[in-house]
């Protein structure tokens, strides 16, 4: 005599739950977003930091080109259980963060010359661009990210050096992944960098 080993009612319900879900999915096809719909950078950096490290070491945004990240992210949407919006947000963050800026390039000079006033506070800039990796308390949200509150941490350097590190990107000793230029946020201006540096020193620096 064969035996039913687990609750037959629950398992049968699970079987037939697939059919209405399939119907919902087919009906909703018209809702598919246009391609490529830009995502939100700040949300993308947060979702990236919260999700990718759950299964594997986070990949350096510079590991892939923009087009390669599209396919990689759609693959990860399925594998990691991401919504379409989360996928687009992360994609926007990665595509903005894989840019390599040469220290002597004219673009860098232009960016450096941007001394206009910032429309954000240092705390807002940190929350939008930095918090995903460095954490709300500045101790580092991801493995390998340096701790701002350590006396021998990054804040022991001069503002000039830190400004340059943020502008061009920087790989901390012991970290297998580099911080992208401008923390991955191409909209960051010189004034923004100055403000966020001031915020870092006020919030995390040890006397």
């Amino acid at each position: 005599m064969s035996t039913r080993l687990y609750s037959p009612i629950i398992l049968r319900l699970a079987r037939y739950a697939m059919l209405p879900m399939l119907a919902i999915g087919m009906v909703s096809i018209a809702m598919a977003a246009d391609y490529p719909e830009p995502g939100d950078f700040a949300s993308g950096s947060r979702v990236w930091a919260e999700n990718c490290n759950r299964c594997h070491n986070v990949r350096d945004p510079r590991d892939l080109r923009d087009d390669q990240w599209i396919t990689a992210m759609f693959h990860m949407r399925i594998r990691a259980g991401l919504t379409g919006r989360e996928t687009r947000d992360i994609l926007t963050f990665l595509q903005a963060s894989n840019t390599v800026i040469a220290a002597d390039s004219k673009l860098t000079a232009l960016a450096t010359e941007q001394a206009t006033e910032s429309t954000y506070s240092g705390a807002e800039i940190y929350a939008q661009t930095c918090v995903a990796c460095h954490g709300a308390d500045g101790t580092g949200a991801l493995p390998g990210v340096p701790n701002f509150s350590h006396a021998d941490g990054p804040l022991g350097k001069s503002n000039e050096i830190l400004h340059q590190n943020i502008l061009l990107g920087y790989q901390s000793p012991g970290s297998p992944m580099a911080m992208p230029p401008k923390g991955g946020n191409p909209a960051l201006t010189r004034a923004d960098i100055d403000l966020v540096l001031q915020y870092l020193r006020e919030e995390f620096a040890q006397e």
Binding site: Y6, L22, A32, A33, R54, D66, G81, L82, G84, P176
Partner: protein, 426 residues
């Protein structure tokens, strides 16, 4: 009178000539100077005209060069834009590893663990074809090729994707997310979560999967219907008994019995994921294993048995620390009819693993415990693994681990092992 006038005229002429002569001589000298000056100015004018002509020609050439440069730059930008968002995308990913294994009962061997290229072909945000091959070098030097998965993924909307083909089993997390060597923090799979273990590895069928927000939490799900596994039986000690569950995805459903299953997970906070999974259906003995040689011969017409799987898993990460665990149990029911009629069986395995990255270094320590039970005592084992990794990069990792295996004395399940591995994900 006339003669006087004549004389006066002569005197006048003589005087005039006398007065004019020096002027004439002086005029000749000025003329020469003026002529030289004019000639000099003319030469300078000519030089200026030449310089002007050269300048105009240079400007024209520069303007032309700038136009060409702009055109070339524009072309480069256009090409770059084509790379950025074409309708059709092709991407090659995958992973590979090489290593060394030395067990209690062998002399140690270098090995090529696996070469697993993953092919991605995508059309806009509508469909993604992905397939992973497995190339493996067997101990006798033969190259074995397998198809790990092959799916067409149809993105129906932001929350639902239809997946069809040979897919990794969504039961638990290890098979679908953690088994690639550059992801697995230890160089071996937990007993029961590899091939022929307690956890199903893959299936052929249809799957709906995706994610959606659940209040303030996130959640993800997968539900599937597939051909299901097949069973092997062996004749031992005068009776048939189940040898194992073949749950690696079959291209045909030889018993006509489908398996339904899925997984649902919630993330109450971003650092914690908790999942439950299960599957149910029928499975039939289709292979008869020779007790002495291990060869398997096909068999038909056996009675379908109940097949049920339950699983649970969790992952918690915080900064440099990650802790995860997983439980899976596969049950096969008994049958009293057919050639291979026998009792049922249970395959159960669970593991928990902690990994900690030394702050501001590339060194990671890993500890894992696994308990695997099956209907065959010679397969059962409890295993501790201690590992130390060096992250050369985040996707190129040097791993060293020592397995402490506790099984039946004399069996391979009781052999401790040292494993070294270099794993690269690309």
């Amino acid at each position: 009178m006339f003669s006087v006038l004549k004389r006066i005229r002569q005197v006048y002429l003589v005087l005039s000539a006398g007065l004019l002569l020096p002027n004439v001589l002086l005029a000749d000298a000025n003329y020469d100077a003026l002529q030289a000056q004019v000639e000099n100015l003319s030469a300078q004018l000519e030089e200026v005209q030449k310089i002007l002509a050269r300048s105009e020609q240079g400007q024209a050439e520069q303007a032309s060069a700038r136009t060409e440069e702009i055109a070339a730059l524009k072309k480069d930008i256009d090409v770059a834009a084509e790379w950025r968002t074409p309708n059709s995308l092709i991407h090659l990913a995958g992973y590979t590893d090489v290593g060394y294994v030395n067990g209690d009962n062998d002399d140690g061997s270098f090995n090529v663990g696996m070469f697993s290229p993953i092919f991605h072909f995508q059309y806009r945000d509508i469909v993604l074809f992905e397939s992973e091959l497995e190339f493996e070098l067997s101990p006798d030097g033969e190259t074995e090729i397998g198809l790990e998965y092959l799916t067409l993924d149809y993105f129906l909307n932001d929350y639902v994707t239809l997946v069809g083909g040979l897919f990794l089993s969504p039961i638990g997390q290890f098979r679908q997310n953690l088994h690639p060597s550059w992801i697995n923090k230890l160089p071996s799979a937990p007993p029961g979560f590899g091939h022929d273990g307690a956890a199903p590895t893959s299936d052929v069928g249809l799957q709906l999967r995706g994610a959606f927000p659940l209040g303030g939490m996130r959640s993800n799900y997968a539900v599937y219907v597939g051909n299901g596994p097949e069973l092997n039986s062996v004749f031992e000690d005068g009776e048939f008994e189940l040898e194992g569950i073949e749950a690696e995805g079959f291209g045909a459903d030889r018993d006509g019995e489908k398996v339904f299953g899925g997984r649902f997970a919630i993330l109450p906070v971003s650092s914690l994921e908790i999942g439950v999974s299960g599957a149910t259906g029928k499975a039939t003995v289709t292979g008869l294993e020779d007790e002495d040689t291990g060869d398997i011969s096909e068999i038909e017409g056996e009675t379908a048995r109940d097949y049920d799987v339950i699983g649970a898993d969790f992952t918690w990460t915080r900064k440099d620390l990650s802790i995860r665990g997983e439980y899976v149990q596969s049950k096969i029911g008994e049958t009293a009819t057919g050639l291979t009629a026998s009792e049922g069986g249970e395959w159960t395995s669970w593991y928990t693993q902690a990994a900690w990255r030394f702050p501001s270094t590339k060194i990671e320590a890993v500890l894992r415990y696994t308990d695997f039970d099956s209907p065959h005592a010679s397969h059962d084992r409890q295993q501790w693994v201690l590992g130390l990794n060096y992250l050369i990069t985040n996707n190129f990792i040097a791993k060293g681990a020592y397995e402490f295996n506790d099984g039946i004395e004399g069996s391979i399940a009781n052999s401790d092992r040292l494993i070294l591995q270099l794993a690269y994900g690309f």
